[in-house]
């Protein structure tokens, strides 16, 4: 078995193809123009881009949470591009997602215990009697108190909710997770905690991860490789060490140059980055 877990070949996604208004209105905006991408087992890959780059769309397409117009997505060698919902179901356990807005991604009507237990029981990850113990272990691992299990999502803080989101994804013991902009709303110290946690979990569980973000500095902290997206196309990809040391694409260079480091640099502001 090859160690490539996820492979995208020429993936295209078009929005608004659903025939609206009696089919009179021509719709369809292409947001992804043929993306090629590979993620190996246990590898953390960054997908970075500015707003409108299609990075979140790509993340959802990989998990088959959005329709793919053209191209192929392979999971562990199997072409899942046209899988029905029923055929996807057993695979769902193996590929999970952590969402950007933890408030919106947790059902406001369910207690945390139910949010965590239900997916495990549905996928029969373990015997019903064992679920409680597993949840307890993991909740401890992500740094939450057990009492949080009896709370509703709105009773937790933003950072705590994000940990619940991470725990939910990891409890299914997946091989792959998509983390979609999961630290963008957090303060730096909370962000560092979340990144630490995620990186540790990936290492301990041998998880492969697609880390979607807009901040190259954050990508640098957690990822081995990086794909840079612009207007729905991959403009550069490669090992982080190499990409950050010597970016080949102008756009990557511009993105890097635009990041202000917490270290006064009298020339930074004047340095022209993007020939716009």
């Amino acid at each position: 078995m090859s160690d490539v877990l996820i492979a995208c070949e020429g993936v295209e996604v078009v929005y608004g193809t659903r025939r609206q208004n009696l089919g009179l209105e021509p719709g369809g905006i292409k947001v992804l123009h043929g993306i090629d991408l590979e993620i190996r087992r246990g590898e953390s890959v960054g997908i970075v881009g500015e707003s409108g780059s299609g990075k979140s769309t790509l993340g959802r397409a990989i998990l088959r949470l959005g329709d793919v117009a053209a191209g192929a997505i392979r999971f562990a060698g199997e072409d899942i591009t046209r899988f029905s919902e029923a055929r996807m179901r057993p695979l769902r356990r193996r590929m999970q997602m952590i969402f950007q807005d933890p408030m919106a991604s947790l059902n406001p009507r369910h207690r945390i215990r139910r949010i965590l237990a239900e997916p495990m029981l549905f996928h029969r990850v373990c015997a019903a009697g064992e679920a409680g113990a597993r949840i307890k272990r993991l909740i401890d691992r992500v740094g939450l108190h057990e009492a949080a299990l009896e709370r509703y999502p709105h009773e937790l803080s933003g950072g705590q909710r994000q940990r619940v989101g991470i725990a939910r994804a990891v409890l299914l013991e997946p091989e792959f997770v998509v983390a979609d902009e999961i630290v963008s709303g957090l303060d730096v110290s909370t962000q560092a905690q979340a990144l630490n946690l995620l990186k540790g979990l990936c290492r301990d569980l041998g998880l492969a991860m697609a880390f979607i973000g807009h901040d190259l500095s954050v990508i640098r902290a957690v990822c081995d490789r990086v794909y840079v997206l612009q207007h729905g196309r991959v403009v550069e990809s490669g090992n982080c060490n190499q990409v950050f040391a010597a970016p080949r694409a102008d756009y990557t260079r511009a993105l890097i140059d635009a990041i202000p480091l917490p270290e006064p640099d009298p020339h930074w502001l004047a340095r022209e980055s993007l020939p716009s």
């Binding site: 208004n21 009696l22 009179l24 209105e25």
Partner: protein, 334 residues
Amino acid sequence: MIVSVINRLVVAAITLVGVGAIVFVLLRVVPGDPIAMMISPGASPADIAALRARYGLDADLATQFWMWLKALLSGDFGMSISLRRGVLSLLAERLPATLELAFAALALAVALGLFLAVLGTLARRTVCEPLIDALNGLALAVPDFVWALALVLAFGVFVPVLPLSGRINPSIDEGFVTHFYLIESLLRLKLTAFADVASHMAMPVIALGLPLAAVIVRLLKEALKEAMVQDYVLLARLKGMSELRLILQEALRNAIGPTLALTGVQFTFLIGGTVIVERIFSYPGIGNMAVDAVINRDLPLIQGLVLMFGLIFILVNLAVDALAAFFNPRLRHG
């Protein structure tokens, strides 16, 4: 833009045909025999059959519907059985009365609604606000039917200052050329007649307008409140604008669009409400006529009336869409 207009019109046409079909089928299964209600006791079976044939009631359902539709397209709405007159001319005679009523109520509701919404926004976080909200909640919860009867008690019995029924005092004969009495009397400066028509309309207009005004107040006030905490209002406040000017110049134009769409729907409810309110005040509009038509099993008239209501509904909705586009620069520019 053009596509969406065409789309709207197609949907409107489907809706109208649907309305026609439903009412048509519904009426054919009515147990009451419309012919039985119009014949004199001594009519022979041959007479009855002749009458049936005359009103096309002897054919099967599909044929009847087809004939009706064909006639409709050529502008023939048929004959009223109970009133023995053309449906179209009856509608033309009664519709203006209802239109005057509905639009007067709309005008009242919009004026009152705008005023109270702005006042409520100005008075937010003062003791006045909960008071306005409570009164508004009351007006919102209680429907036109109840308001109409409450007004009957108040201004018909306890302080009898307003006429309880009809549209105009029969002793006033101005020889109206149109059926728009209110507008015509005003344009021709017949002020006595105008005052009389207006006083007859006062109670039904208030009963119909009050709930709609309450809807407008609630929606608009909510939208204004939301707009007033936006950063652009904050910046305008920093520029030194007065509170009233902030509301009128900055917030209102953004609040009015969403309010308008829902007000349009509510206006169609208001038009629906004319049926019972006209009944209560014996006001000679199409609503009152509709109740009589149903009680008399007057099929052609019912069909014509329902279709008329459907048409009004669709026109109101199209007008609202157009207005909403006008108030929203985003829609205006495609």
